[in-house]
Amino acid sequence: MSGSAIMLMVLSLAVVWGGLLASILALRARPERADFPAGGTDDHREDEAIPERDT
């Protein structure tokens, strides 16, 4: 392989897989927020009627 091809291969992998590694580490460091706006509990209210239409 030529020097430029090797360099580009290493660079491509570093950017894409590096990005993957960084995003995984960032997510592991802070998987969820600690603070949310009020509300937002899953009460399923908007979906409750759906199963009852089955005849």
Partner: protein, 528 residues
């Protein structure tokens, strides 16, 4: 009469958690395009230099639209019709347009997975012999000789294609009937790691084949002059756009099955980079194998034909496998990977359709899946397990992807950002629940860069199709199968908007309220 009130399962299904969602979203994004499209596209558009437009496209188009899809699905909690209806009543048709695209794609996508299953079995005996091209189109697909005067559409079924196709549909329906957590998530938890391992083994083996370095040389040697070519940039945006499964409802639907207090953007970054990471892996594996094939045939890598699409997978790759040491094993790994990558994408495509019908017509999951699955399976078998299946697939794929999905994305961006100005609300939503904060750059991406690039792609594609036709196929055939697909998408999206909702989708308050504290939002909340 109502009979199923005893159903005690939680009404809106949910992924069991972050990992299940991420795996499912990656399973959806990683599909056939990653394996057979990316390597050839990169090679033809500047080789190593393609990295530059590719990464820029990922950051300015792929990730921003992925976030847009996540925000829509998660905030408005439904499949595309429910979501767009909740944004504005008249936007419901756009949701059905996306559902129709998914329906059409599922019908032919399943056929390719069926082919991969057949070739998985053929791998063990290297059944394709020396003439792999003749085997694929002749012995296997029994392609009709349209150039020699055969009809462009026949109902001559080919059992070897039909049987695996039926199996794919049975499996897909079974997974969808089982539900989000017990079906889709479980299938991805099993198949995705298996895919990565199987494909990883294949790639590592390929790197050590004779001539592999010539292939990698061909793929990564940069042609910097390509960066000045507009078409290379369009190719990069196209690759990112098609490979991430964005803008036609899948990511909207999946994110609607996350709990409300769920992180969106950080998992989104993992999904986007995983998709590109897998593409890189595929690029290395495919070009190592191509280098080996060129070495065996005593030609240069640049002289090889069939380096993308179905021909790469079903004609070129079998030739590689035949010449490899332990060929049957690696053939099985390759076609097994192809089938798994395709299957995890197929179930995500079908879930969009199932969710749309389930929500609008008040169906149970089982009923929606069975009805849609059976109708789609029948259409799929009739259209694609015959001697003219390959032609139909090629044509419908071109129109539904290059025209349908691109139009869907342009419309989505223009309506949401420019006409309805919902992007601040969606950005607020993303930032209220996520750990990775989305800045104002997002508006520029989804409001200017994406619609501009995609509108250019769309218009130039339509002009090209009108002027030059497609692949030299018969004009009347293209009128029905190609432009007809577009008519079906549009008519379907209008017709499906018309019936009344079994349950008022507008009886819904988005959380968190936007703008954060206003009189109107509080009154609405109190009125409940």
């Amino acid at each position: 009469m109502s009979t199923s009130t005893t159903d005690t399962s939680p009404p809106r299904e949910q992924f069991t958690g972050q990992v299940g969602f991420i795996l499912s979203a990656i399973g959806s994004a990683v599909g056939l395009g990653n394996i057979w499209r990316f390597p050839g596209v990169a090679y033809e558009n500047g080789g190593g230099a393609f990295l530059v437009p590719y990464v820029i496209a990922l950051l300015t188009a792929g990730i921003p639209i992925l976030f847009l899809d996540y925000a829509l699905g998660h905030r408005f909690r439904g499949g595309p019709p429910t979501v767009f209806r909740r944004v504005r009543k008249w936007l419901e048709s756009l949701g059905w347009f996306q559902v129709m695209i998914c329906f059409v794609i599922a019908i032919y996508y399943a056929a390719i997975i069926g082919w991969a299953l057949s070739f998985f079995v053929y791998s063990f005996t290297l059944k394709w012999g020396d003439d792999t091209a003749g085997f694929f189109t002749g012995d296997y697909l029994q392609l009709a000789d349209t150039a020699g005067g055969s009809a462009w559409f026949t109902l001559d079924f080919v059992p070897a294609v039909l049987i695996p196709l039926v199996l794919v549909w049975v499996a897909a329906i079974a997974v969808l009937v089982a539900g989000i957590a017990k079906g889709i998530e479980k299938a991805n938890v099993v198949f995705l790691p298996l895919l990565v391992v199987a494909f990883g083994v294949l790639v590592v083996r390929a790197i050590f084949l004779d001539g592999a370095t010539d292939g990698l040389n061909a793929l990564f040697t940069p042609d910097w002059s390509a960066l000045g070519d507009m078409n290379v940039w369009i190719a990069a945006y196209g690759q990112i756009f098609f490979s991430l499964s964005i803008a036609f409802g899948i990511m909207i639907t999946y994110s609607s099955y996350r709990k409300r207090r769920a992180n969106l953007t950080s998992p989104g970054l993992v999904v986007a980079f995983s998709n590109s990471g897998f593409e890189m892996l595929a690029g290395i594996g495919v070009f190592s194998a191509l280098g080996f094939l060129a070495h065996e045939q005593g030609v240069a890598v640049g002289d090889l034909e069939g380096i993308t699409g179905p021909i790469l997978s079903f004609v070129t790759f079998p030739a590689v496998v035949s010449q490899m040491p332990a060929g049957p094993l690696f053939g099985a790994l390759f076609f097994g990977s192809l089938a798994m990558a395709g299957f995890t994408s197929l179930i995500s495509i079908l879930q969009v359709v199932a969710a749309g019908f389930q929500e609008k017509f008040g169906l149970t999951r089982r009923r929606a899946v069975l009805w849609i699955g059976i109708v789609a399976a029948v259409l799929s078998v009739v259209g694609f397990s015959t001697t003219t299946g390959l032609i139909a697939l090629d044509t419908i794929d071109n129109w539904s992807n290059n025209v349908g999905i691109v139009a869907s994305a342009v419309l989505m961006c223009v309506f949401l950002v420019w006409l309805l100005r919902t992007s601040p609300e969606l950005r607020y939503h993303l930032n209220a629940v996520s750990t990775f904060s989305v800045g104002r750059w997002w508006y520029v991406c989804i409001g200017a860069i994406v619609p501009a690039v995609l509108a250019y792609m769309l218009i130039s594609r339509i002009v090209d199709l009108v002027q030059n036709g497609y692949e030299g196929y018969d004009e009347t055939y293209l009128l029905y199968a190609g432009w007809g697909t577009l008519v079906v998408l549009v008519v379907g999206s209008v017709v499906l908007t018309l019936p009344r909702w079994r349950r008022d989708p507008d009886d819904f308050v988005a959380w968190p309220t936007y703008p954060p504290v206003t009189a109107s939002a509080t009154t609405k909340e109190e009125a409940r």
